[in-house]
């Protein structure tokens, strides 16, 4: 098993279909395959152990991913915003490596020990110029395909290990070979170091769906690219969808007649954003995909029919499902367990555990957290409703402990988000002499509306117990998110605590 097997099948099935497009440049599947062979040769000649990429999306991404697969080496896409000591310590973990980056950074990073740097343009040009057919690639499914440094909430970032077997089984379990029409086009605007971007690339190669890349997200640019490339499918993180909706609401029309499907993930989707999205994009299929880097992306899906049923329902339990993450993929098992690792009773809250072929849960140079019988603790808390729909409550680490009672920030955020004045909300615990921690909230109001602290506190108190009512509420213009869509509660907490 190797990602190259999927590419080889795509070439057999549709060799001259365009695989990836960036600006005016394209690579078809056959070119991607010979390009990957050329990259593999370059890597072998360079004598390195990794191919790294410190850059925005470009054609170097598919060439790098499949080229390293061909060479049997791990591909390591890095956050291009990294500089200085942080970057050096990550590169030290993967040295010796060939590093693809923008021309302006080649000299600087090329000086680091064990790092050979090449510009993105040179890398692509060399791959395109090659004409030797692909040779043989290793078939060991345990070979590492990708290393992805995850944004740690505490301590140094750790590299999640994704092996060929994880990605291949994920794709084979969720994508039908060459199911895409020739006109299908996916817009990918998440950075290369986001597992969703890697998964989208591999899935699209297997389904035969053309990808157009948007290297730097901007709502207007997204809308224009979707329009001009007749984009049919797109993946966004929730903050991007909010920006796109705002931009479209500002303009007179929504001129995206080819758009059929929008999927999102990476972070929590506020209720008002998905509701506005569904109203604006009538007829478009919405899919919420919950997954982690460690699980090779998606483990649970709220599909288009689920979205429609929930939006149209008058039953409160069904309505709530619009903020759920749907139901687990058929090939996986998902369980909720308590602090001692025991499965909780039906409907109770706990930590989400998952088991399946696509689950890695392994980190470079660290002990795995996966149990002997294959269960991976996600560190996310959640619960299933009566119909088997999974709800997320936030990271286990974000649980607020108030006077010995565990409170979930996600539950309180969901209530705040259901208030018509609230566009976004973050709930954290702040230190308190009497209770240990108390609930604090930061709220972003919709433009042009007003709400005061007492009104929102009463709103929460009516719906949840008083211990869950935020003791303080601040109003901010926006909340801190990272580029993979995650709400950074620790940043909110740090600011609240610093303010005193």
């Amino acid at each position: 098993m190797n990602l190259m097997m999927l590419l080889e099948m795509a070439v057999t099935g549709a060799g001259d279909r365009v695989a990836v497009k960036n600006g005016g440049d394209t690579l078809d599947y056959a070119q991607l395959m010979t390009g990957a062979a050329a990259v593999a040769q370059t890597l072998q000649q360079a004598g390195v152990e990794h191919l790294a990429m410190l850059d925005e999306s470009s054609l170097a991404l598919p060439l790098g991913l499949f080229g390293s697969a061909h060479a049997g080496l791990p591909f390591v896409p890095l956050n291009y915003r990294l500089t200085g000591g942080e970057l050096e310590s990550l590169l030290a973990q993967i040295s010796p490596a060939l590093l693809v980056t923008g021309a302006e950074r080649v000299e600087e990073v090329g000086r680091l020990p064990g790092i050979q740097a090449v510009s993105r343009d040179d890398f692509i040009a060399r791959a395109r110029a090659a004409s030797d057919p692909a040779g043989e690639w290793p078939m060991d499914p345990d070979q590492i395909a990708v290393l992805l440094f995850t944004s740690g909430t505490t301590g140094a970032p750790k590299a999640a290990v994704i092996r060929h077997k994880h990605l291949v089984s994920y794709v084979l379990g969720s994508v039908e070979f060459m199911a895409a029409d020739e006109s299908d086009t996916g817009l990918v605007c998440v950075p290369p170091y986001h597992i969703a971007g890697v998964a989208a690339l591999v899935s699209s190669v297997y389904s035969g769906r053309r990808i157009v890349q948007l290297p730097r997200f901007d709502a207007e640019a997204w809308i224009e690219l979707a329009r001009s490339e007749h984009v049919t499918n797109a993946f966004v993180v929730p903050t991007m969808l909010a920006r796109i909706i705002e931009a479209l609401e500002r303009s007179a029309t929504v001129d995206l007649p080819r758009l059929r499907a929008l999927s999102y993930g990476g972070g929590k989707m506020p209720l008002s954003v998905i509701q506005r999205g569904m109203a604006l994009f009538q007829g478009v299929d919405f899919t919420n995909a919950y997954g982690l880097t460690e699980t090779s992306s998606t483990i649970s899906i709220l599909g288009p029919d689920d979205h429609r049923r929930a939006a149209a329902s008058s039953d409160p339990e069904e309505q709530r499902r619009l903020v759920s993450v749907g139901t687990p993929l058929p090939a996986l098992e998902v369980e909720i367990r308590d602090e001692d690792g025991k499965p909780v009773e039906s409907g109770a809250r706990g930590e989400i555990y998952v088991r399946g072929e696509q689950v890695s849960g392994e980190y470079l140079g660290r002990r795995t957290t996966v149990s002997g019988d294959g269960w991976f603790p996600t560190r996310d808390s959640g619960y299933f409703d009566g119909g088997g729909y999974l709800f997320l409550e936030g990271r286990i680490d974000d649980v607020i402990v108030r006077g010995g009672e565990n409170l979930s920030p996600g539950e309180i955020e969901d209530v705040l988000l259901s208030h018509e004045a609230v566009a976004d909300a973050a709930v954290v615990g702040v230190p308190d002499v009497q209770w240990g921690e108390v609930v604090a909230a930061v709220v972003v109001l919709h433009g042009g509306v007003d709400a005061d602290v007492e009104e929102l506190q009463a709103f929460v108190r009516e719906r949840l117990r008083s211990s869950r009512t935020p003791q303080s509420i601040e109003f901010w213009h926006e909340l801190p998110y990272n580029e993979t869509g995650k709400l950074l509660r620790r940043v909110v907490r740090a600011e609240l605590v610093a303010d005193g």
């Binding site: 080889e8 099935g13 379990g173 996916g186 899935s203 993946f235």
Partner: protein, 103 residues
Amino acid sequence: MAELKPGARLRSSVCNTEVMVVLTPSGDVELQCGGASMIALGTDPDASLSLSADFSQGTQVGKRYVSEAGDLEVLCTKPGEGSISLGGAALQIKGAKPLPSSD
């Protein structure tokens, strides 16, 4: 033939067909293509063997082929002229069900 493992890659002895094993029963499995035993990818086929007319319906890349009992499933990774059988019984193409995709 010997025991198969999921992920194993096999080739036909008498045509270009290649498959990857998705699901397999335990114990020895007599997997054939074009009427002849399938062999591990990378090994050389016995040149004296030839394609059987009874098993020449062809295989298609990307299609999954299953046994009647459903206990054996292979994914065709390279197409060929032969058709796949298990212990003499032809495998059937698995219907494409809509998979829950998020990408």
